[in-house]
């Protein structure tokens, strides 16, 4: 009985520390500040700079991913990549093909700097915080974030399943189409 009570208390405490439900409205972890552009080499004069994060700070955060889902439509990503992410004049985001890489920092650069042949640069127009939310959401569309943090429902009527029910797609680099 006591063991069960202890286990319950530990479980409740573990939930309290849950990253999933935290809502960070203002601050972003300092490490997430990636205002400098993507670096093509590690060579540099002087002491090396702090490494930018390789993961989106919202990867395990349900609120951040849900905000990304809202922004995906608000900033008209859906205009080219389609509402359900199946692709139209822009490439599909729900499949396993990644022209410019599936790593979070690569997706970040894709959104912030733009890519040749159509992807506009959103740097300077969207705060970094929201770009990271979009990165987490784009990952969730391909099933690359944990299921308990991915959105479990669609706000609008659409044919696709919510992201939480997306099977993991093993990313493969395809190069330019």
């Amino acid at each position: 009985m006591r063991a069960a009570a202890c286990a319950l208390i530990v479980a409740v405490l573990a939930c309290g520390a849950c990253e999933r439900e935290q809502r960070r409205y203002t601050e972003l972890p300092a490490a997430a500040d990636r205002s400098t552009s993507v670096r093509l080499t590690t060579l540099q004069p002087g002491m090396p700079q702090a490494q930018p994060p390789e993961q989106s700070p919202y990867q395990y955060n349900a609120y951040g991913i849900a905000e990304g889902k809202r922004l995906y439509n608000a900033y008209n990503c859906s205009g080219c990549h389609a509402m359900a992410g199946g692709g139209a004049i822009g490439p599909a985001l729900i499949d396993d093909k990644w022209i410019y890489g599936s790593a979070p920092d690569q997706i970040f650069s894709t959104i912030k700097q733009g890519r040749p042949d159509g992807m506009p640069s959103f740097g300077g127009h969207i705060p970094d915080q929201q770009i990271w939310q979009l990165v987490a959401y784009v990952e969730s569309m391909a099933g690359l974030v944990s299921q308990d943090a991915a959105p479990g429902r669609n706000d609008d009527q659409m044919a696709k399943k919510p992201e939480a029910r997306k099977e993991d797609t093993r990313p493969k680099q395809t190069g330019h189409r």
Partner: protein, 313 residues
């Protein structure tokens, strides 16, 4: 903020007056019933039970009959008043009414003055002006969750439901500034989702709405021009519209005449230069959880932006 208290018992229009009348009828009927019931109970307690005689039985059954008849009469009075009020609330519908479309967003109100002629439409947010003495038909929509519009001095509540079109008919009979608010819990900042209703004489209203149709005036001073550059090339244009410029975002309140409104962030803070600066730099402090992201602007950029926004009368 208004010059009138926000209360259903201070009606400023025919609809609210009908509802207030119904409320007072219910209040007095219930007061009389309450006094009678408590009085009858007090008599029963003090006088006690007096033998089960034939006379006693007759008195008892007579009293029960009277009480039953009185209850039915009171219910009929209330029911009649309720039906009459409900029907009367529908009588304001007229084809020549002013039509306004209000769309609820988390957590602000998008306002569009409808007109069969598209060039005569006007878009604003969080503040509506209406002419005194003319029926106004509000078309109520929602973009995300269920909201409810409640302007206690003018009418009862009507919900704004996603995927559904609701209507509300109001008329202000006295000029004044009335406050409305969201009356259906719609998320974190539900409490800070207010709307200002300014009822003014018809000629004054026509002047106001004609001005709201105008695009934003072009900037005249260099600092204002710099502010406009920040709006168009920076983050503002991603969500906000300023008619007459290239800023055409449609997910946030229209800013074409932001300086003519009395409040910011749906009635959260007064619209002054200081509050506007605070709202732009740190909106999550003023209204945590709202959809406006904090913007990293240098202080000179911020001042230029404020210089420009203040011209949007």
């Amino acid at each position: 903020m208004g010059d009138v208290i926000q209360s259903v018992l201070a009606p400023a229009g025919i609809q609210a007056a009908r509802i207030a009348h119904l409320w007072w009828v219910m209040f007095w009927v219930c007061t009389v019933v309450f006094i009678l019931v408590v009085g009858a109970m007090a008599i029963a307690v003090t006088r006690g039970r007096r033998g089960a005689s034939d006379a006693g039985h007759r008195v008892l059954s007579r009293n029960v009959a009277i009480a039953t008849a009185a209850s039915i009469a009171a219910l009929l009075v209330l029911l009649t008043h309720s039906v009459v009020t409900g029907r009367a609330l529908e009588t304001l519908k007229t084809p020549d009414a002013l039509r306004i479309q209000i769309t609820g967003y988390q957590w602000w109100w998008d306002v569009e003055y409808l007109n069969p002629q598209p060039s005569l439409r006007a878009v604003t947010a969080n503040e509506i002006h209406i002419p005194v003495g003319r029926p106004v038909g509000l078309t109520l929509l929602s973009s995300d969750v269920i909201h409810s519009l409640w302007i206690p001095n003018l009418h009862g509540k009507i919900d704004l439901i996603p995927g559904r079109v609701n209507e509300m008919w109001i008329q202000a009979d006295r000029p004044g500034v009335y406050r409305g608010q969201c009356a259906e819990f719609c998320g974190l900042q539900h409490a800070k989702m207010a709307i200002t209703i300014v009822a003014e004489p018809p000629d004054q209203f026509e002047g106001w709405v004609a001005h709201q149709r105008e695009p934003a005036p072009p900037p005249t001073l260099p600092s204002q021009q710099r502010g406009l550059d920040i709006v168009e090339r920076g983050p503002c244009a991603m969500c906000h519209t300023i008619a007459g410029t290239t800023a055409g975002g449609r997910t946030a309140p229209d800013l074409t005449h932001i300086a003519s409104r009395s409040t910011l962030a749906a009635g959260t803070v007064p619209n002054t230069r200081g509050y506007l600066a605070g709202w732009i730099v740190d909106p999550q402090h003023v209204k945590p959880g709202n959809k406006m992201p904090p913007l990293a602007l240098s202080s000179s950029d911020l001042q230029a932006l404020l210089d420009y926004l203040e011209t949007l009368k």
